[in-house]
């Protein structure tokens, strides 16, 4: 049995349920994210990851259940919480008609970043995209765009970061660079990250702990290594496929043998 994590809980969902037209996209979903921890939220399309992320960002209100960030109820303290958090997704874009530097400056000012130009320059250097500052955002490649989004996500030195498939559509080289930067910044600044991905390499390299969702419910939870050990599969990708197809991590005949 793993030792209890005594680090501060910075994000918590209690019995979170979200229904759309009577269908439960999330069903009594509960979890805790600790300071400095990277938690992977996994599941096939429609498992409830995006709904969970949207509820956690305050974009969608849960049908029932409670959400807390930094010990505060999310709904009542949304603005104060968002000031300490940030978000990046492969599926949202910064305005394509502005220069990269202009977009980042606007968000730096929204977050009240001190010396925004210096901060932007530092982060762009860290993500190896300093040369993009004067480029039009809409003309960037997927890899460049992802890294610009990450600069935006790191602008306010967030204590809590939500990354929705940050390596989607990236080539293996850029995906590797993105993972390494995320891990480096996360360790240096002790950020708690909620991370969704369909790339199991991402999950194994970046996440300390993962939660597998299926039809809005938690199927299993633990470190990537523990989950593979619990399952009848040999690697995390097989576990993913097994859960996506059967909703379980253990084959039927092996269930009796399982502890």
């Amino acid at each position: 049995m793993p030792a209890p994590d005594d680090r501060e809980i910075i994000l918590e969902a209690r019995d979170l349920t979200r229904e759309f037209d009577g269908v439960k996209a999330l069903d009594r979903f509960s979890f805790q994210l600790h300071r400095g921890e990277v938690l992977g939220l996994l599941g096939a399309n429609g498992a409830g990851k995006t709904t969970a992320m949207n509820c956690l960002l305050g974009l969608t209100l849960p049908t029932s259940g409670d959400l807390f960030a930094f010990g505060l109820p999310l709904h009542q303290h949304r603005i104060a919480i968002l000031q300490r958090a940030n978000f990046s997704s492969a599926y949202t874009a910064l305005p394509g008609n502005l220069l990269v530097g202009q977009n980042l400056l606007v968000f730096a000012k929204i977050y009240g970043v001190r010396d925004p130009k210096k901060k932007i320059a530092e982060l762009m250097e860290l993500l190896e995209i300093s040369h993009l500052a004067k480029r039009v955002t809409g003309q960037l490649s997927a890899g460049e765009s992802t890294r610009v989004n990450l600069v935006k996500a790191f602008l306010n030195d967030p204590e809590l970061l939500m990354l929705d498939e940050p390596t989607a559509s990236l080539d293996p080289d850029i995906a590797d660079k993105v993972r390494k930067v995320v891990r480096k910044v996360q360790r240096e600044r002790n950020i708690g990250i909620l991370y969704t991905s369909h790339n199991m390499r991402d999950i194994e390299e970046v996440c300390d702990r993962v939660i597998f969702l299926h039809k809005g419910k938690i199927v299993c939870e633990g470190t990537p290594t523990d989950i593979v050990a619990q399952s009848s599969s040999t690697n995390l990708e097989d576990v993913f496929i097994k859960i996506a197809r059967d909703g379980e991590i253990i084959d039927e005949p092996q269930k009796d043998k399982a502890p």
């Binding site: 709904t51 305050g58 978000f87 305005p95 929204i110």
Partner: protein, 265 residues
């Protein structure tokens, strides 16, 4: 309300105008086309009627300019919101620590800037092209501008709320909504010349008092102060209702999970 956040959002819209000169052209092009059409109609009527009425008919140009003030104010709010929808930036804004009131305030300011540009251009063209000086309305011009701007903002919030609720399918409303009101707010003709059944409806909207007041000022140099009082009171009511509608629909979109669709549209 955090003014730092409002100024950051305004900066984002200003960057947009500097990056896209066509937007500046659009800001001036259609108002100038309208002005030239109405200006030429006015000149035609002046030349073919008695001098007294010919002088009076100049109010058409004043009406056109003031109508455009209201329309630009509405567009400032609705188009600023649509800019965020078109560029898939809306989610970035709503997951940042931006209050709905700060967001709307930034669009009001953008609306005010758009009005200033348009009003200056139209005033100059109407003066040099058609010998119509909008400043003959003297100090009355200030409350006229303010009241029309407030009503434009209210319509902008209503347009934005409808787009939030029905998505980009409702986008055409951003342009259409002011024109739903145009026939009943006595822009180009006095209320007394409207059909009897529509006159009580006309008096329900603030612009009616402003356009009636404008005609009074142009004719007599003065106007009924009550008109300004009614316009201001109705504007406060419309602003409150439009603000409530916007916040109610924003909350509804969160409840129904509709907000996230703007990320992928």
């Amino acid at each position: 309300m955090n003014f730092r956040i409002i100024s950051a959002l305004v900066l984002r819209y200003l960057f947009l105008y500097t990056r896209s000169p066509m937007r500046l052209v659009e800001l001036v092009f259609w108002p100038v086309v309208d002005l030239v059409v109405w200006g030429n109609v006015t000149v035609f009527i002046q030349r073919n009627t008695n001098p007294a009425f010919g002088n009076e008919i100049l109010f058409l140009l004043g009406a056109m300019i003031l109508w455009d003030i209201m329309f630009r104010a509405q567009q400032g709010v609705a188009i600023s919101f649509l800019e965020d929808v078109w560029t898939r930036n809306l989610l970035n804004v709503f997951v940042a620590p931006v209050r709905a009131t700060e967001y709307v305030s930034a669009t009001f300011i953008v609306g005010m800037l758009r009005i200033t540009v348009t009003a200056v251009v139209l005033s100059l063209i109407s003066w040099f092209g058609y010998s119509f000086n909008i400043f003959q309305l003297q100090w009355w011009l200030i409350p006229f501008f303010l009241n029309l701007m407030l009503f434009g903002w209210s319509l902008g919030m209503i347009s934005t709320a409808l787009i939030l609720r029905w998505g980009q399918a409702a986008e055409s409303l951003a342009w259409a909504i002011p024109f739903f009101f145009q026939p009943v707010v006595a822009v180009f003709y006095p209320v007394q010349d409207m059909p009897a059944w529509s006159q009580p409806i006309a008096w329900c909207f603030p612009p009616t008092y402003i356009f009636e007041g404008m005609r009074d000022v142009m004719k007599t140099g003065s106007m009924n102060w009550n008109y300004l009082g009614y316009a201001a009171a109705l504007n406060i009511l419309f602003m409150a209702l439009a603000g409530w509608l916007f916040l109610w629909i924003l909350n509804l979109t969160r409840k129904r999970g509709l907000l996230t669709k703007f990320a992928t549209q």
